[in-house]
Amino acid sequence: MADSHAAVAGETEHPHPNYMAVFWMLLALTILEVFVVYTSLSVAALISILLVMAFVKAGLVAWYFMHLKFDNRVLSVIAVVPLILAAIAVGVLSYEYSHYTVSDTATLKVATEAAETK
């Protein structure tokens, strides 16, 4: 680890973030995520908290490690557009599947089992 500190200290001429600070944040969030799973929070609260933490972590990686902060903005646009499309896909599919009735789900199960037996 001594090397990494030396590396951070020695790169003052580059517009680089403190990578180790980002690392500690990622580590802290990961520990917190695992901790939260074993608490007795409600499912809705748990999912919301975990999703927020995951996106903060992903954001840290993209913004600092992948240098989006220091790069041309066109790269940020390229990074964000798939997320918007993905959000639409997740939204539409979740909405669609949440409107399956029990029998529809049963049909889906039958179809799955039929595929299994093949």
């Binding site: 090397d3 001429e13 690392f23 990961t30 799973v37 790269l75 997740v90 595929a115 299994e116």
Partner: protein, 205 residues
């Protein structure tokens, strides 16, 4: 970095400072990698969307992930991948200072991180298949788990090979010519980023 570096000939395309001849002012290499990552992200997120849809449709019978999956062990794998992202940024920082020895050192550490992750995944799969009897055909829980994690694992494997190929050619890179190190880094961080989302969606929630 100095803005006055003028590259000619073959190095022209490798010079990270020479953005002037592209419309976007971004080097073609970096632009290509970002576009690749954008389409790869869409592939992953479409799979996540399908996974969430299927899970919602079987909300009542879907098992709690932690009843099958080992969260603490997977958290260690997450930790390894985050560490390998840090060694990757250190490798890039090293070559930006012109330090090839440190570049080799940090890239080797990154490769090692990737290999450790793959070994962890091997242990996890063995345990799940042999002891928990998970299989692709048994349930949608099993099938989505294997498809998502193996697709990511394949990315890690490709990343390890890609990193090793950059490591093998480490002697070519200098403080003025490091674009290839930068874009292998972009790929590697992306693999880490996807794992962060996957870990939450598949293991934690």
């Amino acid at each position: 970095m100095s803005e006055s570096v003028i590259a000619v000939g073959q190095d022209h395309f490798n010079d990270p400072n020479n953005y002037s001849d592209t419309i976007t002012k971004v080097s073609n290499w970096k632009m290509f990698m970002w576009l690749f990552l954008a389409q790869d992200a869409m592939t992953f997120f479409t799979m996540f969307a399908a996974y969430l849809g299927l899970r919602i449709s079987q909300y009542a019978t879907w098992p709690v992930p932690s009843s099958y999956l080992n969260i603490p062990k997977t958290a260690v794998m997450t930790f390894i991948l985050i560490c390998s992202s840090v060694t990757m940024v250190q490798a890039l920082a090293a070559i930006q200072r012109g330090d090839q020895r440190k570049l080799r050192l940090w890239l080797s550490a990154t490769v090692l991180g990737g290999l450790l992750f793959l070994f962890g995944q091997y242990l996890e799969y063995s345990e799940l298949i042999v002891h928990e009897h998970l299989s692709m055909g048994r349930s949608l829980f099993d099938a989505t788990f294997f498809i998502l994690t193996s697709f990511h694992g394949l990315h890690v494997l490709s990343g390890v090979i890609y990193l090793a190929s950059v490591l093998a050619k480490a002697g070519r890179y200098t403080a003025q010519n490091y674009t290839q190190v930068e874009i292998v880094g972009l790929y590697w961080h992306f693999v880490d980023l996807v794992w962060i989302i996957l870990f939450t969606l598949v293991y934690l929630i």
